[in-house]
């Protein structure tokens, strides 16, 4: 990739990766996000220290498929749990306890339930991280000093240079017009 070449040929021409606009309040971020969305950008993001209510709509984010993934994990846990209990106690090593049937549902519910919860919860955490592309320990945005406040008290909009509508000068002027504190271009 180009970034690797750039690192190797020190001093070579750098390419703009991101444009980063900074805002002071969640309100400013929201109205700016709406305008970026309406301008037709697709590869862009908003950054905030906490989830800002209404920002999903303002950015036009589609609802995540994560719940379906978690449901699948849960069903797998339920089926796996029941299968484990049946295979170990009724098939591979049949347990005859007090003349009770070798397999019945009620006594096997607790373990099945626990495994359902275990796999669903693991699915929720791992799925959330995977869909988010995390862990991603290095990111171009971290090269901005200002961006360090994105986890404390500042709000940002970043536009990826890979966006089809991106044009270095035009997009920068557009971001400046959104009324933020500062617009930065980040190179890699």
């Amino acid at each position: 990739m180009a970034s690797i070449e750039n690192h190797e040929s020190a001093g070579g021409p750098k390419r703009i990766r991101y444009l980063l606009a900074e805002f002071e309040t969640p309100e400013e971020l929201l109205s700016a996000a709406e305008r970026v969305r309406d301008a037709g950008y697709t590869r862009w993001d908003a950054h905030s220290p906490f989830p800002v209510h209404g920002l999903d709509e303002a950015m036009g984010i589609k609802s995540t498929v994560l719940p379906w993934f978690v449901l699948m994990c849960g069903l797998l846990g339920a089926a796996g749990g029941l299968g484990l209990e049946w295979w170990t106690n009724a098939f591979d090593y049949p347990y005859l306890v007090s003349g009770k049937p070798l397999f019945s549902l009620p006594a096997n519910i607790p373990v099945m339930f626990e495994l359902t919860v275990l796999l669903s919860a693991a699915g929720a955490l791992v799925g959330m991280l995977a869909f988010n592309g995390l862990p991603e320990l290095y990111h171009t945005l971290f090269t901005s000093k200002r961006f360090h406040r994105a986890t404390t008290d500042r709000f940002f909009i970043s536009i990826d240079a890979g966006d089809p509508k991106f044009d270095a000068a035009g997009s920068e002027a557009f971001l400046r017009g959104l009324g933020g504190v500062e617009v930065e271009s980040l190179e890699d």
């Binding site: 220290p49 209404g54 484990l84 106690n89 995390l134 404390t152």
Partner: protein, 488 residues
């Protein structure tokens, strides 16, 4: 300090006191972690805790080298301090998940000030709890027989045994609690990473924050995952102590064999867990200067929950006695008469005093809002809840159906030191947490501050935010902030 414990239904009381904006919230929480040295009291407490942890490991080592004979338990009392401590610690662990999951689903915004803290406490309590079943099996080196793993006996565990359910319930609970706690902490670890001034902090918090950059596309999935985890943890937390109670209820022993056990155990667990949260929270908020985030209202609310669950526990005690009489069963009646007036009467009446009478003092607002009073009361509740498990386990076992097989359990020094040592382990982990991890969920607290309040779009008049909501849209951040504590 503003009194935010008054309930004026016309306005929501502020959840964060003092003149805070987003940056000062971060400062207040991160400064604890970033300070060159913690308060002196921290060192003293850590030295004592680490010493006790050493005692714990010495006792466990001695037990493993010698055998369970070093404990006082013997037939007929085959379970004593080991399982008492196990149930006690698991119970303590229930408050964290209740606060983080159930109060989240009920939209109790005040939980944001205390959830991180309570979840951490849960995990440490479950660590202590998990130790006891592992060491009580006698031959610790084959403890893996508890799990469905191939072993030298070519036999699988019996999945119809409540003891096996317990293995799955507690290990699931431990895993899910850690995942819930860690996931909630990722954004706050990123805050610490971004503020890091030393290389080691940058690398440590950098790795554990996984490259979180506050992206809203990420927040969207994060929120959804958090909701799902809360929805999953809610039945889980209710199931765990139910399953623990099955260890007893599914047996045939008088005093154990009762259908009331699952709800009774869950109520008791939440009761003791909240008492432990308050016990730790009162000193921690004073030492680390967190009174703006863990306000008297938080403590007041927690004490109300202690009162409610304590009353449920009292009701369960009453019903147990009533059913023992109403059943007309000789053994059942004897089991309860023996608890109250038999050789363990002192344990029974300690339990009754601490669990039935003491929490009733929380009807008084003075008790709910005075830190030292609640500290004393909550410590007593914890004593009472330990004795509850002792009474249930030991009195029932010591005198069952045949007088010829009766016995009396006396703890040995190893029993007592192991129990004391488990407190050492708990407090050691807790003190390390206070020093190295964000004690307050910063991102969550910020999201319920009035400054985050948006009179916007579909969320107009949503009532999501607490305290005075700034109405002027175009004001600059600083002036729009307004003191968060201006509500009376």
């Amino acid at each position: 300090m503003i009194d935010n414990t008054a309930d004026d239904p016309r306005r929501r009381a502020p959840l964060v006191l003092g003149e805070h904006n987003f940056a000062t919230v971060t400062d207040a929480v991160c400064n604890i972690v970033e300070a060159p040295a913690p308060p002196k009291a921290w060192y003293v407490a850590l030295a004592v805790s680490v010493g006790l942890t050493g005692v714990l490991f010495a006792c466990v080592g001695y037990l493993i080298m010698t055998g369970v004979g070093v404990w006082g338990l013997n037939v007929p009392v085959g379970w004593a301090f080991d399982i008492t401590n196990f149930v006690f610690w698991v119970g303590i662990g229930h408050a964290g998940t209740l606060i983080s999951a159930i109060l989240f689903l009920f939209r109790q915004k005040w939980r944001t000030g205390i959830n991180r803290f309570a979840e951490a406490m849960t995990i440490f309590a479950v660590v202590c709890a998990g130790l006891f079943p592992a060491i009580h099996v006698g031959r610790v080196w084959v403890a893996y027989w508890l799990f469905p793993l191939p072993n030298q006996m070519a036999i699988w565990p019996n999945f119809r045994s409540p003891l096996l359910w317990d293995v799955f319930a507690v290990s699931t609970y431990m895993t899910v609690s850690i995942m819930f706690w860690y996931m909630g902490m990722i954004p706050d670890l990123a805050t610490l990473r971004d503020r890091a001034t030393t290389r080691i902090r940058h690398v440590f918090y950098g790795i554990f924050s996984l490259g979180w950059r506050g992206s809203n596309r990420h927040w969207h999935r994060f929120d959804r995952a958090y909701l799902l985890l809360a929805a999953l943890a809610t039945p889980l937390v209710l199931s765990v102590h139910s399953v623990v109670s099955f260890d007893f209820a599914v047996s045939l022993l008088p005093g154990w064999h009762t259908t009331i056990f699952p709800p009774y155990f869950v109520a008791g667990a939440i009761f003791s867990g909240f008492a432990m949260v308050v016990t730790l929270m009162v000193p921690a908020r004073a030492f680390f200067g967190l009174k703006d985030f863990v306000t008297l209202r938080h403590l007041d609310n927690m004490n109300k929950i202690i009162l409610a669950t304590g009353s449920m526990v009292a009701y369960a005690y009453g019903i147990e006695l009533f059913i023992a009489w109403y059943s007309g069963n000789l053994f059942e009646k004897f089991a309860f008469a023996n608890r109250a007036f038999g050789p363990y009467w002192w344990a029974y009446w300690t339990m009754m005093t601490c669990n039935v009478l003491v929490p009733q003092l929380f009807w008084f607002k003075k008790a709910r809002t005075t830190p030292w009073i609640m500290l004393v009361l909550c410590a007593l509740v914890n004593v009472g809840m330990w004795f509850e498990r002792f009474v249930i386990i030991v009195t029932s076992l010591s005198r069952d159906f045949l007088p010829s097989s009766w016995g009396y359990f006396k703890p040995t020094a190893v029993d007592l030191l192991t129990m004391a040592g488990s407190f050492g382990l708990f407090f050691t982990l807790f003190l390390l947490f206070c020093r190295y991890l964000p004690m307050i969920a910063m991102a969550e607290v910020k999201s319920i501050m009035p400054k985050a309040g948006l009179d916007y779009g579909v969320h107009r008049g949503h009532g999501q935010y607490w305290g005075e909501i700034p109405h002027q849209h175009n004001q600059q951040a600083e002036s729009a902030a307004g003191p968060t504590g201006t509500a009376v």
